[in-house]
Symmetry: C2
Subunit: 158 residues, 2 copies
């Protein structure tokens, strides 16, 4: 089975993850930055329609909202493992990232803010699942957005 897995994974575009190149650390940083940016964009995509509904730009659809909220809660766990050592801006890897060096100055605070987002997103998903009314969901979307912003204000370049 070990023999058959490698080509299978290679066909999935996973071969880069399976190789150990000369500069393994550089590749790791490269991949980690790409991964977290991918995951954060997926998170924004899931949040977007809930923001649109909260703003009244599109009609409120309880089923779509609940699905988005559930997806957002799941995805809210994912990006953070991409913030590995040596992957912040100015770390000399030459890869474009808006993740400020300030993250490294207070990693505990950065992790606390991640936890806040996860909690706010989980609360939103639970509320939607429980069929709470739109005004309450709307306020909770605001809480989620605020938790995103609280982190961006401190740790993301403009």
């Amino acid at each position: 089975m070990a023999v058959t897995f490698r080509p299978l994974l290679a066909t999935l575009g996973l071969s880069a993850l399976l190789l150990v190149p000369a500069s393994a650390q550089a590749l790791e940083v490269d991949k980690a930055i790409e991964y977290r940016q991918d995951a954060l964009r997926v998170m924004a995509w899931q949040l977007g329609p809930m923001g649109d509904m909260a703003q009244g730009d599109i009609d409120y659809d309880a089923e779509a909202f609940a699905r988005r909220a559930s997806n957002l809660a799941a995805v809210s766990h994912l990006p953070w493992e991409g913030f590995i050592e040596g992957s912040l801006r100015n770390d000399g890897h030459g890869i474009e990232t808006r993740a400020l060096a300030a993250i490294g100055d207070d990693w505990a605070d950065f992790e606390e803010r991640q936890a806040t987002l996860r909690q706010e997103a989980a609360t939103l998903a639970e509320m939607a699942e429980a069929g709470e009314e739109f005004n309450a969901l709307r306020r909770q979307v605001g809480a989620v957005v605020n938790s995103c912003r609280a982190c961006h204000d401190n740790y993301r370049a403009d």
Copy 2:
């Protein structure tokens, strides 16, 4: 509240989702392709370490495996909404994508293959959650990989 949401979402990089540009459809295709590629890469990232464990390239870690399997099952629902009309290769949008026109020839089959992946990933997550033994998990990773490959073979350019 409608007034305060817009700048909040704009700071999250969501402003593009909130505007209605002259070529709304072109923007939508652009965003949909980027989104599905992001989500598919996040899926590959989550699958990667389970593949490494299945191959014996890294040590089996039951807790890490179960977390990956749970993440994979959640993410397995996400990419597909990015396959919107007019977003396949050769649809004239000028955006690089490996999604073949063959998808449009048999959309029902494409959706059935998505469902198979979701099912295989859900099964893997349930097995890991239930604490099944490594050899069984390893075989199920193979089933997940096969479901990825079955779709790529038919619908993704090399």
